[in-house]
Every structure is written in structure tokens, then in C-alpha cells.
């Protein structure tokens, strides 16, 4: 198990993606969004609670017929789509990462308070930080795997591709309370909200595939709406 802090400047934030989720391009970003984005970026640079943890499990079985993954002491009903993506994995890396309580609280405070528009910009930035933290974990795992001539898959999370979000509880049980301060509500919602968890396959025969929206069943997702344009 490896838990670590991540500095904001270690992350590769895709600002084009952030701006596109706001509904603009970097060349036509009007006020107040340009100032709001600068404010959110400046705030994010000082974050000290971006953290990540991962655990690699060696004993794995991918049961793609039943859409199930067995990893050490737990079995996860990940669904056939995720099973297909993980096929060939000899190890599975489970991870949790968070943009931290500071930015999550800031989003909530603004969204529920005096400036929901600014709150939404922080919210999008918080999501981008959480995703970039996931990218960082993926990068570390890839480097480690390549030393042993392994390859890795893309990352997959409960709640996506028909993987029941309730499995979060089982996934978190792998970390024995070393969860970067991320906790789960009974309904499996992560807190701080700007956190992600999931699994990455490792093996000689696995394939890294981009994560297209067609894999996911969420038809009303804001990302799908934007990418369709």
C-alpha cells in the first residue's frame, strides 16, 4: 500500500477541458468566467491536502462471464464492460485519490451561498484536480509496471459502466482505513466529494484503451453532452 501527498504543480490539469466544461473555449472565455477561473486556479495552487493511495493485489480472477472480479479477499460486481477492459490482468491496482476537503468545502460554500457561478467554476476545477490525481497514480503505476515489462489498463470506477457504486464499500475495505481522509456515506458517496476511486489492471496482455462515452450508460452526463458537440 502506498499513500502520498500530491502537490498541485505535479498535476497536469487540462485547462482546455475545464473551459470546455464551462461551455467555452480558451479563446472566447468571457468575464466573469476568465477571472473566476484565475481565482480557482490561484486557490488550487495552495492546496495542501491533495492525496492519493493505491494497493496492488496479486491474487486476482476476472470472471467476465458473470461480470465479476475477485481480488484477494473481496469480490466485486464490476459488470461485463469493466471485466472486458480488465481481461488479462495479472494484478489489480486499487486506488483512492482526493482533491481534498479544502476545495470540496469551498465549492459547497459557494454553490449554496452567495455565488453559485463561481462555485460551479471551483466545482469543475475540483473535479479536474481529482481526475489529474488519478492520472498521476496511473503514471506512477505505468512506470513501475514497465520496469517489469508489464502494461496497464485505463482506470475504471464504481458507478460507471454499470459497476454498482455500492461496491465502493468493498473497495475501501482493501485500504484498512488508510484512505487519504476519504470516507464513505452509507449510500457510498465519497467525502470529500472531489475524490475518485477505482481499479487499474496490470499484466503482460492487457490493453490501454481510451475511455469513450459509449462505454457508459449515463446518457445525461454533462461530459457526454459537451463531447457530443
Amino acid at each position: 500500500m502506498k499513500e502520498f501527498h500530491i502537490q498541485f504543480d505535479e498535476l497536469v490539469i487540462d485547462l482546455d477541458e475545464v473551459v470546455s466544461i464551462l461551455g467555452f473555449t480558451r479563446y472566447d472565455l468571457p468575464e466573469p468566467f476568465a477571472s473566476y477561473l484565475q481565482e480557482a486556479l490561484h486557490f488550487s495552487e495552495s492546496l495542501q491536502d491533495i492525496r492519493a493511495v493505491f494497493r496492488i493485489v496479486d491474487q486476482v480472477k476476472i470472471d467476465d462471464q458473470h461480470g465479476k472480479v475477485i481480488a484477494g479477499e473481496i469480490d466485486l460486481q464490476v459488470g461485463r464492460t469493466v471485466c472486458n477492459e480488465l481481461n488479462g490482468s495479472e494484478r489489480l491496482a486499487f486506488f483512492i485519490c482526493t482533491a481534498g476537503k479544502t476545495i470540496s468545502d469551498k465549492c459547497t460554500q459557494l454553490l449554496q451561498g452567495e455565488n453559485p457561478v463561481l462555485g460551479y467554476v471551483y466545482d469543475v476545477m475540483g473535479s479536474a484536480i481529482a481526475e489529474a490525481s488519478g492520472d498521476r497514480i496511473q503514471q506512477i503505476l505505468k512506470q513501475d509496471a514497465e520496469k517489469e515489462t508489464y502494461r496497464i489498463t485505463n482506470r475504471y470506477s464504481p458507478g460507471y459502466c454499470n459497476w454498482n457504486v455500492a461496491d465502493q464499500h468493498k473497495l475501501f475495505s482493501l485500504f484498512q482505513n488508510i484512505t487519504c481522509g476519504v470516507t464513505l456515506t452509507p449510500s457510498a458517496l465519497m467525502q470529500p466529494v472531489k475524490s475518485i476511486s477505482g481499479v487499474i489492471g496490470i499484466g503482460h496482455e492487457v490493453t490501454y484503451r481510451e475511455y469513450p462515452c459509449t462505454l457508459c450508460s449515463s446518457k445525461q452526463c454533462v461530459y457526454r453532452r459537451i463531447r457530443q458537440l
Binding site: L22, P30, F33, L111, V117, V165, S187, A188, L189, Q220
Partner: protein, 222 residues
């Protein structure tokens, strides 16, 4: 529609809050929903006309554009902010009865779920369409919905959920509301929810977007 009401409608559609607001760029330096609403009322435009011929048409256009992916969440939030600024001028007229809201809508994110952006968008859009909105927030139990209904007889309820795990609670809350107040209409929405799920749990409406909720309410209240 008079020119002032048309301008108010444009301010809502494009999210122009007030004179000082730099957004949208093409309306920079112009008066916004704040000043124009005050001016319309001062000039004697009936408050009901400001609401139904100025503010509501603007909000309806935003709702349609959001449905058609022509605008995104931030632009809708700007429109909602312009709307709420304008509504402050109308509030005394609602209280005096000079302007009437079409009905009451009670909305909340269901128990166990803390997501509120989608719920807020619906609340803003419904309010901007001439309804009184009671927003119970997130993580709301059946008891809280029922209490709000007892205080607001005839209100329509909106349930929001983003997690598949909390869809179960949506079903329980729907059942409990229907058991306590069978006549209550319930609209549901959220990423994991569908028309089929709506039918299965006995809710009355599923909407994929905020404008759908407005259309449902307009059918019921007009």
C-alpha cells in the same frame, strides 16, 4: 410585448444581471435585469406582466437552449442569477397579491445523496417560470417532504438523485408520500433515473432536463 419587457427577457436569456456585470460581453455597459425590472415597475407596468411577459419568456428560452446543448450549466446559472435579482423587485408584489405565482414546487435531493447542482438548476428554472419553489436541500427524508407538503397543500414534489444507490430511497420516499397524500404529484430526475424507473416506482413524471419539469408543471397548473 413592450420594449422594456423584451429587454428584460433578453437579460434573463443571456444572463445579464445588472449594469456592472461584464457578462455577457455583447451586453457590457448596458442595464441588466436588476435595473430594467425596477424601471418597468416604476413606469407602472403591472407586476404580473413583468413576470409573465418579461422574465418567464427569457427563462423559457434558456431552458430550451440548455435542452438543445446550446448553453451549459454556467450560462444557466448566470440566467438564474439575473432572474433572482429581478425577482427581488417582484417579491413585495407577490406578498401583496399584485403578482401571482402559478403554484408551489417542493424540491430536494433524496436521503443519502448530497449532490445539488442538478437540483439547484431545476429549482432555479422552475422559479424563473413563475412558481414558488421550496428547496429542502440535499439528503432529504420522506418525513421532511411530507411536512413541507402539509404546510403547502397542493404543491408538486420534485425528487433528485445522482447515485444509483439512492434511487432506492427515491422509491421509498415516493411510496411514503403517496401513502400519506395520494393526490400529490411527484416528478423525478437525475442521471441514473429513467422513464421506466419513474413508472416502476409510481412517480408521475420523469424529466431529463429542467425544462421538462417546467413543462410538466405548466400542464398541471394551467
Amino acid at each position: 410585448m413592450n420594449e422594456l419587457l423584451e429587454k428584460i427577457s433578453d437579460c434573463i436569456e443571456f444572463g445579464k444581471i445588472n449594469l456592472a456585470s461584464p457578462y455577457p460581453p455583447q451586453m457590457k455597459g448596458l442595464e441588466g435585469a436588476d435595473e430594467l425590472t425596477a424601471k418597468a415597475l416604476q413606469e407602472g407596468t403591472p407586476p404580473q406582466d413583468v413576470l409573465t411577459k418579461g422574465l418567464m419568456p427569457g427563462m423559457e428560452k434558456v431552458g430550451r437552449k440548455f435542452r438543445e446543448n446550446k448553453v451549459f450549466v454556467p450560462q444557466v446559472l448566470m440566467s438564474a442569477k439575473a432572474m433572482s435579482t429581478a425577482l427581488l423587485h417582484l417579491k413585495p408584489h407577490f406578498l401583496s397579491g399584485a403578482a401571482k405565482q402559478k403554484g408551489t414546487f417542493i424540491i430536494g435531493t433524496v436521503l443519502g445523496d448530497l449532490h445539488d447542482i442538478g437540483k439547484n438548476l431545476v429549482a432555479m428554472m422552475v422559479e424563473g417560470s413563475g412558481y414558488k419553489v421550496i428547496d429542502l436541500g440535499t439528503d432529504v427524508s420522506a418525513e421532511t417532504f411530507i411536512e413541507a407538503l402539509e404546510e403547502n397543500p397542493g404543491a408538486v414534489v420534485g425528487l433528485s438523485a445522482l447515485l444509483t444507490t439512492t434511487m432506492v430511497n427515491m422509491q421509498k420516499i415516493t411510496n411514503e408520500i403517496k401513502a400519506a397524500m395520494p393526490e400529490t404529484l411527484i416528478a423525478i430526475g437525475g442521471a441514473p433515473v429513467s422513464e421506466e424507473f419513474c413508472e416502476k416506482i409510481g412517480a408521475d413524471n420523469y424529466s431529463a432536463d429542467p425544462q421538462g419539469v417546467v413543462e410538466f408543471l405548466n400542464q398541471k397548473f394551467l
